[in-house]
């Protein structure tokens, strides 16, 4: 290895270390920041948990003999708490208030800010929603096969990333319009309806199920829960993973394109 390339590797490593440190600090700062609004985080956690909880109650009544309903909906509840994204409130607000201008002038990728806040809110939601999850688990006497849970972990991580990219992409509409909440509210409804929260995809009519399998919403919510609960197996898990990775790549590209176009607009017409 030549001296120049060694220096390049060292510089890249140093940059990567700095980014990791900034990311860690960003999450930590946001966790502290949200400590003053824990009650709001609690309402967010309730908002994420309430639909799976209703689904659990309703579907256990409808299908009392289906033993997978409990594990499935408990997993959906946990996935919802771990992947909830609110960039329509947080990042869009920074565009409306002009705070994004300060971020643009900092020598760091702007994504560190929204990503840090996203993870911090999730930490708070998990902390505040955990008693509810434990309560439901105890009362429904739900059990899991550890192999299914392990298989679901990568799907959960992909879901967390995908939902962030998805919500962030739509939140960036705030560069063009002040009505971003309506747009994100609509797509969040689609996640609830077609992601496996209102009803497990396996219980949907065949046509709707086929459509839902093609869309990104299942990968954000239902897929990790299905794998953990054991309602999907074999090739279907692989197909689900392929779709999840594909949609994550799509929304990674979409978020990058929306960011570039949004910043181009913001730096052309001002805040």
């Amino acid at each position: 290895m030549s001296c120049a390339s060694s220096i390049g590797v060292v510089a890249r490593t140093a940059r990567a270390r700095r980014l990791v440190r900034l990311g860690r600090l960003s999450v930590w700062r946001q966790i502290l920041g949200w400590a003053g609004a824990w009650w709001f985080a609690f309402t967010l956690a309730l908002g994420q948990a309430i639909v799976p909880l209703l689904g659990l109650v309703v579907w256990m009544r409808v299908l009392p003999s289906a033993s997978v309903i409990g594990p499935y909906y408990l997993a959906v509840m946990a996935v919802a708490l771990l992947t909830g994204s609110f960039e329509n409130h947080t990042f869009a607000q920074s565009i409306y208030s002009g705070d994004v201008a300060d971020e643009l002038l900092r020598p760091q990728p702007v994504a560190i800010g929204p990503l840090g806040e996203n993870l911090a809110i999730r930490v708070w939601m998990v902390l505040l929603g955990l008693p509810l999850v434990i309560g439901v688990a105890v009362s429904t006497r739900v059990t899991y096969d550890w192999r299914g849970v392990l298989l679901a972990v990568p799907a959960l991580m992909i879901a967390a990333l995908l939902r962030f990219l998805f919500t962030w992409t739509f939140a960036m509409a705030a560069f063009w319009t002040e009505r971003v909440h309506a747009a994100v509210g609509f797509v969040t409804l689609l996640i609830t309806l077609l992601g496996g929260s209102a009803a497990p995809l396996s219980l949907m009519p065949p046509l709707l199920r086929d459509v839902a399998n093609l869309l990104p919403f299942r990968a954000m919510l239902g897929l990790p829960a299905e794998i953990a609960a054991g309602t999907v197996a074999g090739g279907n898990i692989l197909t689900g993973y392929a779709a999840a990775v594909g949609w994550t790549a799509v929304f990674g590209v979409a978020a990058t394109a929306a960011w570039r176009a949004g910043v181009r607009r913001y730096t052309s017409v001002g805040g």
Binding site: R18, R29, L32, R106, S268
Partner: protein
């Protein structure tokens, strides 16, 4: 810098039509603005509301991409926002002096800034120590941002922005809303910082006292065009060719009118307007002729000079404000 803004007549029908056929108008926020600022200068960038000051500041700092033209700050094109550039500048807005989560302490924000700008531990300690002393921050470092007053936020915000020793400061209304003490502290600090570090400062402010105490050079902008670029003294001399002589003489002296125009009379004190060239001889004559108890020579307030300049510029769009008394 040209913005394209949608326009339509008032009324429901026009609103409905605009859904299908939108019409736009070009707004020239800044045009033909050209100036150079040598390193180490403190320059006042002044204009009325909407004149183009903040737009220019945003272009220079890298927040806005101009429609045409070129800008060079520290050898960088600002709107490319290279990290090397961003590490050497600071845009400080008086309206938003200190961002970040309000639950964090001021010291938390400083520590984050340390990582963000790669400041070594020794430099951090030294810079923070100096800033804390100059801006009286010792009592603030452990406090949460949300508990700070506006003046405290401004002091902390200034220190935060200067922790990494930026070479160029863009100060947008840095003393807005501050009380007398905080304003004086900020002014003293800006002057000291520029002197100590050789930093270049571009300052916008509606407080002429800021400008008077900090900026020997002024750039005036109106309707997006630079109308004046030169020394404050020259502008003052051009627009106000007179000075005010305040003299206190026991007893009423009607012959004071011989010495200049009487602007104000209050008991034994009289304010005379005297041509700049005659100030020395007039004060000498006053002292020789009368038993003078007190005498002072004052410049006309900068507020009134700037008001005069802005009115003149707006009236005829001239690049140079007309001297007072000249017909425009």
């Amino acid at each position: 810098m040209t913005y394209r803004v949608p326009v339509r007549p008032a009324g429901l029908a026009a609103a409905a039509r605009s859904l299908i056929h939108r019409r736009y108008r070009d707004v020239h926020a800044v045009q033909d603005a050209s100036f150079e600022i040598p390193a180490g200068s403190i320059v006042g960038f002044l204009g009325r509301n909407g004149a183009g000051k903040t737009t220019t500041m945003k272009i220079l700092s890298g927040l806005l991409h101009p429609t045409s033209g070129s800008v060079d700050v520290l050898g960088h094109v600002p709107w490319r926002r290279h990290n090397d550039y961003l590490r050497r500048i600071a845009l400080i807005r008086g309206s938003q002096p200190l961002g970040g989560a309000p639950e964090l302490t001021v010291l938390d924000s400083f520590r984050y800034q340390q990582v963000l700008y790669d400041i070594g531990e020794d430099d951090f300690d030294r810079n923070l120590g100096e800033l804390a002393e100059l801006l009286d921050l010792d009592g603030l470092l452990q406090r949460q941002v949300r508990a700070l007053s506006l003046g405290e936020r401004m002091r902390a915000g200034l220190a935060l922005s200067l922790l990494y020793r930026p070479a160029v400061l863009f100060l947008d209304e840095p003393t807005i809303g501050l009380d007398v003490t905080a304003t004086a502290t900020v002014r003293r600090f800006i002057a000291a910082y520029s002197q100590q570090t050789g930093a270049t400062v571009l300052l916008t402010s509606h407080y002429m006292a800021d400008v008077e105490s900090l900026c020997p050079r002024l750039i005036l902008i109106d309707d997006g065009r630079i109308r004046y670029d030169g020394s404050r003294d020259r502008l003052t001399a051009t627009l106000a060719p007179t000075k005010l002589v305040r003299v206190s003489i026991p007893g009423l002296h009607s012959e004071l009118a011989e010495f200049g125009d009487i602007v104000e009379r209050d008991g034994d004190t009289c304010v005379l307007r005297v041509g700049r060239a005659e100030v020395a001889t007039t004060t000498g004559r006053l002292l020789n002729r009368f038993d003078v108890a007190d005498l002072s020579v004052q410049e006309p307030p900068l507020e009134s000079i700037m008001d005069q300049a802005f009115r003149a510029m707006h009236a005829d769009g001239s690049a140079t404000p007309a001297p007072a008394g000249e017909s425009r």
